[in-house]
């Protein structure tokens, strides 16, 4: 996603190394993705489902990012 849009930054964080972040974001299972500190996506999702969740797109609607 980061490679496709200059506004996106993607960090892969090794959860056991950074326990402070693991606690802060309540990571109880992996993979867990936190988007802009607010959106939480737990588990591995199919590509489209993941992007929809990360962009907070309503089901079957085009993205609303404005």
């Amino acid at each position: 996603m980061a490679a496709a849009n200059p506004l996106i930054t993607a960090d892969a964080v090794e959860a056991t190394e950074f326990m402070d972040l693991t606690r802060k974001y309540r990571v109880t299972g992996v993979p867990k993705t936190v988007v802009n500190e607010t959106i939480e996506i737990l588990g591995g999702l199919p590509e489209q489902d993941f992007v929809r969740a990360a962009l907070e797109m309503p089901d079957n609607e085009p993205p609303t990012t404005a």
Partner: protein, 143 residues
């Protein structure tokens, strides 16, 4: 004896042969007070870079290289910042890239080195339409 087996090296070398643009892996480590994972990260990156001359590792000191730390907004170590032909790809890895993280690192290097993004056209269009900053943090464990 390296961390990668000769078989792994052969497969990895084959994948990396697709790279056409120089990839720089900026590795930020902390010598004193840092964790062992910085040493592991350095060894792994060194083994990857040895397999393709377009991949280079540049070590940065997390404490002393404050300018680069600020430039690439690195706030913890060990950190790997992936550059494509000198440009920041905005892809970062924090912690030693072992286990599942290793696969992610190799995929990120391939995206940086080939410019090819392996996503469905519809998904790609959604991502390209994003018009506000988005910061993704993906937590995983080596096993």
């Amino acid at each position: 004896m390296g961390l990668l087996s000769p078989q792994d090296e052969a497969v990895l070398k084959q994948h990396l042969s697709a790279i056409t643009k120089p990839v720089t892996l900026l590795l930020f480590t902390q010598t004193f007070g840092g964790s062992e994972s910085g040493t592991v990260a350095k060894a792994i990156l060194g083994e990857i870079a040895a397999l393709n001359d377009k991949v280079a590792v540049v070590e940065k000191n997390f404490v002393l290289d404050t300018e680069d730390k600020a430039k690439y907004r690195v706030d913890k170590a060990p950190a790997i910042v992936i550059l494509s032909d000198g440009d920041d790809t905005r892809m970062r890895m924090y912690g030693a890239p072992t286990g599942y993280e290793f696969v992610g690192l190799v995929e990120a290097i391939l995206v940086a080195g080939t410019g090819k993004i392996d996503l469905d056209p519809q998904t790609l269009a959604w991502i390209q339409a994003v018009d506000k900053p988005l910061h993704l943090q993906v937590f995983s464990t080596p096993t």
